[in-house]
């Protein structure tokens, strides 16, 4: 507990530096002092003279997308930690388990078909889709054997993902105009371009709330180390904790997908890397993964804007390009450890 303060301070500094980089770097390079002046003007009326165009870029464009990137990264990494702990499966992750695909289908249904007649927001549709997809994947895994092993759950997840992606593609082809289809397809690959302040006010609280719920249950997550029966005999109400935390993961995933589309590998790579560094204790792993996810996605977003001049690569493509090889490296190094 005495070490909590320096670590939190270091985490805060790292996050602030990353946010600064996310705001300053881009097609129009801004100096850190301009960024500071705009933020100071906005936050406490400092009254610096700043070019209104720079002011607009910083406040309405870069700051919002960087904050949403941080929230998404933190949220998805937290989801990865929960799913890996509860399913006792090192490969569990919202993207690989079909949650993201289900959320995409749900959101597209609401956007294209007007499902729920306005009562259901994009995030609501995504939430329903994510839960349905996860239920389907677990049923499929259960049906493939009474004691489904790790690989079977992931195979079921891939089957679920494929099904929901096909459903999404079908819906787009059937119901979307060419213009809509282009927009949706770009969003599906993971896209931070469209985010403005309302998205920030949705993503940031949801990521923080998700992290808080998980931290509250950190000892329960630890208790799953030796399996479900072991957790139960350590006094964990297994069903209730599983239901609550998986619903929480589905909700966080759904909100993130409805804002930025399906971004993969954050929930896989970040918790894995940090588990190797810090060990399995969730009181350290959860906040570290949230921070790591935030930094990772901010960096991925910067890359997505700067890799090709004048073009934005979908951020989901960047995370997959970085995430897949890193994951391969982790696999190899884990094998060497044994």
């Amino acid at each position: 507990m005495t070490r909590l303060l320096p670590y939190s301070a270091a985490a805060l500094v790292a996050l602030l530096l990353a946010l600064l980089a996310g705001i300053a770097i881009g097609e129009t390079q801004l100096s850190p002092s301009v960024v500071y002046q705009v933020l100071a003007n906005r936050l406490w009326d400092a009254g610096y003279l700043v070019d209104p165009i720079d002011q607009g870029i910083v406040w309405n464009y870069r700051l919002t997308r960087t904050l949403v990137a941080a929230a998404c990264g933190a949220g998805l990494a937290t989801c990865g930690v929960i799913l890996q702990a509860l399913l006792r499966n090192p490969l569990a992750e919202p993207y690989l388990l079909g949650l993201s695909a289900g959320a995409s289908t749900g959101a597209v249904m609401v956007a294209l078909l007007g499902l729920g007649a306005g009562a259901l927001s994009l995030s609501g549709g995504a939430f329903v889709g994510a839960l349905l997809a996860f239920a389907l994947v677990l049923l499929l895994a259960r049906a493939s054997g009474p004691t489904a092993n790790n690989a079977q759950v992931i195979l079921a997840g891939i089957a679920g993902s494929q099904l929901f992606n096909a459903l999404t593609a079908f819906l787009i082809t059937k119901s979307a105009s060419a213009e809509q289809a282009r927009g949706i397809l770009f969003w599906l690959l993971g896209n931070l371009s469209g985010v403005r302040w309302p998205s920030v006010w949705l993503a940031v609280p949801v990521a923080l709330a998700g992290l808080a719920v998980c931290l509250w249950h950190r000892r329960a997550l630890d208790a799953f180390t030796f399996g479900v029966d072991s957790a139960a005999s350590l006094g964990i109400p297994v069903r209730r904790v599983q239901l609550l935390l998986i619903t929480c993961a589905a909700l966080v995933t759904a909100v993130m997908v409805s804002i930025v589309g399906a971004i993969g590998f954050v929930g896989l790579v970040i918790p894995h890397a940090l588990r190797l560094l810090l060990g399995g204790s969730h009181s350290r792993l959860l906040p570290a993964s949230a921070l790591g996810g935030a930094l990772f996605l901010i960096a991925a977003d910067i890359l997505s804007r700067t890799l090709i001049t004048g073009q934005v690569i979908p951020v989901g493509v960047v995370t997959a390009l970085i995430g897949a090889p890193v994951f391969a490296l982790i696999l190899v190094s884990r094998r060497k450890q044994r």
């Binding site: 180390t225 030796f226 029966d229 350590l234 964990i236």
Partner: protein
Amino acid sequence: MNIMTSAPPVALLACQGLGFRVRDTQLLYGIDLNVNPGETLGIVGPNGSGKSTLLKLLAGLRTPSSGSVYLLEQPLTRQPRRQIAQALALVEQQADTHDAISVFDAVALGRTPWLSALAPFSAEDTAIVDQALADVDALHLRQRTWSSLSGGERQRMHIARALAQRPQLLLLDEPTNHLDIQHQLSLLQRVQALPVTTLIALHDLNQALTCDRLAVLDKGRLVALGAPLEVLTPERLLKTFGVHAHYLTDPFDGACILRFRAP
């Protein structure tokens, strides 16, 4: 019907008419058992006789198909998991992890039922974990990682974790399985010296002779219950285990030991 009037038995842990089935297979039939405070009660029986299943039911990890379990005279199904875990600890036969976890952290999981979300891990908790490690003669392994332990060492850590729960009742499922002979004997000795009531499934019948009482399971039925020498008669051993057996007396200390022959 006298369900309402029949009082639950006076025992730390008890079951009445306990049955369990998985789909069409009946694994346990109407088991009645009382565990008395302070005793070491051994469960023996051939492979597949239902020893592990009985322990899981008694620990509340499975819901019985018929009958009920009473912990401290209260029906188990009406008690919250946390309350059960404060009174009863189970060491399973196979529980392992691929997580990079230290021995201390693995044993410290035993404190889970006593900690809340806001309470930090206190110096007292640390002392209890260290005592549990000392109880299984493993204080020197404290800083090791789980993956560096041998099978036998892992088994001792599982028992240390159960002890860190500070339970009144310890349920052990064949705890000596992976241990070398020295650790088998020292572990049994330590378990029997602990101030907790112990229910222990055992394979080695000579080791089972050291228990206070024995319960013999045969194809899911409780076929004998009582003092070891009264229960493990040559006739019983032939009928349940399918071996001829007779008792020898050790000239060194006068102890009875069993010698087996294939039929």
